[in-house]
């Protein structure tokens, strides 16, 4: 039986939809972990990116951080903190949050930095203060890239939370890890399928957000983002 058959059989079995280890509960857990990590990352990275982009400072640090965040193996970070802190909350919260920061930071920075200097010039000429320029001119134009950063970060966190099941976290990754541990391949296949669907759903939500929030002119301008 192929992966898709096995996954489908598992998904449509009513058993999966009830109880503490059913799909709705685990999906809820997964979304909670994702939400918390993403929330903290936004609080840290968004203001920082806006400030750095506006002041045109710290580009090198931003790029290096982005590189570092990309190079750092997620499983390794999770396991390291897990072993060092004997399984505290930090063992999943820190890696999830830390890995969520670079995409938001970098894309916000880039977005603000990339605003046409003539526009900011004109705004200053009209008498706007630095802060007004940032919030009324730069940020709105940077929205497509900011949204992109948020989308990339969200996907990153969803995927990392899946792997975090290895160190005992709940959520959808449990199906994969537990299934592998007890040689129940149908659970593994079903879990993988649900995670794929979730990733696509997250992607879809952000595409919808982009359609709703970003004005048509800007959208066309940044088509490839």
């Amino acid at each position: 039986m192929s992966f898709f058959n096995i996954a489908w059989q598992w998904l449509i079995s009513a058993h999966q939809w009830h109880g503490a280890d059913g799909i709705p509960v685990r999906l809820g857990q997964h979304l909670v972990y994702t939400g918390i990590a993403l929330g903290i990352a936004i609080v840290i990275a968004l203001p920082a990116g806006l400030a750095m982009g506006h002041l045109r400072r710290g580009g090198f640090a931003v790029v290096t951080l982005a590189n570092f965040g990309r190079a750092l193996p997620t499983l390794g970070l999770l396991v390291l903190i897990f072993v060092l802190t004997a399984g505290s909350v930090a063992s999943w919260l820190v890696p999830l949050t830390f890995l969520a920061i670079p995409p938001i930071l970098v894309n916000t920075y880039e977005g603000v930095l990339g605003v046409d200097p003539e526009l900011t010039d004109a705004a200053r000429g009209m008498g706007m203060t630095g802060r007004q320029v940032l919030f009324k001119v730069e940020m709105p134009i940077a929205v497509p890239l900011i949204l992109l950063g948020l989308r990339i970060s969200a996907i990153q966190v969803v995927a990392t939370a899946t792997i975090a099941a290895y160190i005992g976290l709940g959520g959808l990754g449990r199906y994969i890890i537990d299934g592998l541990a007890s040689d129940q391949y149908n659970e593994v296949a079903g879990g993988a399928a649900v995670i794929v669907l979730l990733a696509l759903a997250v992607q879809g939500v952000f595409i919808l957000l982009r359609w709703l929030i970003v004005p048509v002119g800007l959208r066309r301008q940044t088509q490839n983002s």
Partner: protein, 329 residues
């Protein structure tokens, strides 16, 4: 006026670029051809001998005996012991350790891609051979295996060494409630938190079996890890009053835990038993492995696990230490 022809104005730089691209393309092709022709899995090999190299250009060993292992330390240790013992007898061995799922290595050994793998007879029976089996003792399990294994496979002699699940408590808890067997838990289970790996909740020989066979319902279940540091510290600290620990966990000895007796055989026998592909082994291999199984005891396994997880010795060190101690290398 001389027309500028593109060819004449082409500087050396484009040629260098084209050369670079050409080299890259050839490299890609070379690597892909090598990758296609090599079949090996780049798995961890702790043996310094003819290992299944991840280098795609290394020739694949044919006819050599392939010893596989599952994805956890004890099985990797056992496989390493087999490898060293066989090499000591002059057999050419290819290790293929850390295969991530029984779903995968079982079909592989069935068709001979793997020759030998250290197995736990009970788990082998209920996971891959006959999920409906209720065999519990070593004799029953082995008889069922011999009857139901596919014809290409056979099991060699089981060792007395066993690594099975157990319900374990601290010495203090055992003394306080006078616990020696799992049945002794019945008056207290409803006040006890029990811990174990996440899948313990749904496994047939987990909470389900505890209820069905011993009639125990616990206050709650705490998902921990697979008999690892989290479970151990939870038991020590009193976060859980009872835990599912593997019987060869070194801390059972070092921390003086007590594994409760299991008279109703909730946990089936799990003797270390080599599973082999019949056509791939000869009498030397069989006798060597049987000698290893005879020398292996649960106590020895506990000591070796302690060397691995507490003293952080390497697999090769521990394996060769055991073999020299038993005079088997």
């Amino acid at each position: 006026m001389r027309t500028i022809s593109p060819r004449r104005t082409a500087s050396p730089a484009p040629r260098r670029r084209t050369a670079a691209v050409g080299v890259a393309a050839v490299a890609c092709l070379a690597v892909s051809v090598a990758a296609c022709s090599s079949s090996g899995s780049s798995t961890a090999s702790s043996s310094s001998s003819s290992s299944s190299s991840a280098n795609p250009l290394a020739p694949k060993a044919t006819g050599a005996v392939v010893v596989g292992s599952a994805n956890f330390p004890e099985d990797e240790l056992l496989a390493q012991i087999y490898v060293d013992a066989l090499q000591g007898k002059g057999v050419k061995v290819t290790p293929k350790f850390n295969i991530g799922a029984r779903e995968v290595y079982y079909p592989e050994i069935e068709k001979g891609a793997i020759t030998i793998i250290p197995e736990y007879n009970g788990a082998l029976l209920t996971t891959s051979v006959d999920p409906t089996s209720t065999a519990a003792s070593t004799e029953e399990v082995n008889a069922a295996l011999k009857a139901k294994l596919p014809s290409s496979l056979e099991i060699l002699n089981s060792s007395s060494a066993e690594d099975k699940d157990s319900i374990t408590v601290t010495q203090a808890t055992a003394a306080k409630y006078h616990l020696t067997t799992i049945s002794d838990l019945s008056p207290y289970a409803k006040d006890f938190v029990i811990g174990g790996p996440s899948e313990f909740q749904t496994r047939a020989d987990g909470l389900v079996g505890l209820k069905k066979i011993y009639g125990l319902t616990f206050k709650s279940f705490s998902p921990l890890d697979e008999s690892g540091p989290i479970t151990i510290s939870a038991l020590q600290s009193g976060k859980v009053q009872a835990a599912d620990l593997f019987t060869t966990t070194p801390q059972i000895v070092t921390d003086h835990f007590l594994s409760l007796a299991d008279p109703k055989n909730l946990f089936a026998a799990q003797n270390i038993t080599p599973l082999v592909y019949k056509a791939g082994v000869n009498s030397t291999i069989v006798s060597t492995l049987n000698a290893v199984s005879a020398a292996l005891t649960t106590e020895a396994l506990v000591q070796m696990n302690k060397a691995l997880t507490v003293d952080h010795a390497s697999y090769t060190q521990v394996a060769s230490g055991f073999l020299s101690q038993e005079g088997l290398n």
